[in-house]
């Protein structure tokens, strides 16, 4: 290896490749953050391998699953409106995309909350089909 910096065409092209790789990964990251509710629903639906059902999603959201809380315990029974955390009383912004444009636009955030909240409500992680159902119901809600 040559320890002194050189500006040979070879090192320039390496640098250009590194810059290109960095730009590409930045674009990928911002694409991940610029997710849409419709795109996320399509993703969960294809993972589930069956069409989503808004009616099933509504039922899933509003019933308990053998534990104390249902989804509405914190998100409220009408997810176009703000909810309130069931134990701390902290206000929680509306869940439905129609009244809260930030919802379901960041895949990592959505996955984090499905993981935690399904564990609290259902006692396990939700399946892709369950996520697709709930998301398809939420997308039918109007302000």
């Amino acid at each position: 290896m040559n320890p002194t910096p050189s500006f040979s065409p070879r090192s320039f092209s390496l640098r250009a490749m590194a810059v290109a790789a960095l730009l590409a990964s930045t674009a990928l990251i911002s694409a991940a953050h610029a997710a849409t509710p419709a795109g996320m629903l399509a993703g969960y639906t294809s993972q589930a391998g069956a069409p989503a059902s808004a009616a099933r999603g509504q039922q899933f959201f509003n019933r308990t699953h053998g534990k104390e809380w249902n989804c509405g315990s914190c998100h409220g029974a009408i997810p176009t409106q703000a909810g309130k955390h069931a134990s701390t009383g902290k206000p929680i912004a509306a869940l439905a995309p129609a009244t809260n444009a930030e919802r379901f636009t960041d895949t990592a955030k959505t996955e984090k909350w499905f993981r935690r909240n399904c564990n609290d409500v259902v006692g396990r992680e939700c399946t892709a089909a369950e996520k697709a159902d709930v998301l398809s119901w939420l997308q039918t809600l109007k302000p």
């Binding site: 955390h85 134990s87 701390t88 009383g89 902290k90 929680i92 984090k112 993981r115 935690r116 909240n117 564990n119 609290d120």
Partner: protein, 163 residues
């Protein structure tokens, strides 16, 4: 046996620390006797304040924060799990800013701020009925009365107790 005839390193350090704290306290007194709140880490607000007040790190000792951050999947009855990198970042910030002054130096029962002796003493004039109001609901809901709690400001002048 310890030699008490000369000051130990620990005593010298203690004296220096006390001097520093005294100087800091005196400086803070100059602007109304209030210690300025520790600026809250944006990541702390983002990850923790979705469910509850972004409690100032100084309200719990290091040992409490460490226990809480080790057990996030079982956080007071809910799953508050975070990925390992975020957990490590937040733990570092919380322990660096944890309470060290006398009234916070002992871990409260269950590591609950609301069970600290100082918390109970400071809230002893709040009526039992007030705690039960729908607008209050929980001792965790600091913002119900401390109107600037989300900014880490718990000063008397910003308290509005709902009726």
């Amino acid at each position: 046996m310890r030699d008490h005839s000369r000051p130990s390193l620990r005593r010298i350090l203690l004296a220096a620390l006390t001097g520093t704290l005294f100087a800091a306290a005196t400086t803070a007194q100059a602007d109304g006797g209030k210690r300025p709140p520790v600026p809250l880490l944006p990541q702390y607000q983002q990850e923790c304040a979705s469910c509850h007040t972004a409690y100032p790190p100084g309200m719990l000792p290091v040992a409490s924060w460490q226990r809480l951050m080790k057990d996030l999947p079982r956080h007071f009855g809910t799953d508050a799990s975070l990925d390992p990198a975020v957990t490590a970042d937040l733990t570092r910030w919380l322990t660096a800013n944890a309470g060290t002054y006398k009234r916070v130096d002992r871990a409260p029962p269950e590591d609950r701020i609301s069970r600290s002796a100082w918390f109970i003493r400071k809230h002893d004039e709040v009526a039992a009925a007030t705690w039960k109001l729908p607008a209050v609901k929980s001792a965790a809901n600091c913002g119900a009365c401390h109107t600037q709690a989300d900014k880490g400001d718990y000063s008397e002048r910003n308290i509005r107790i709902p009726r």
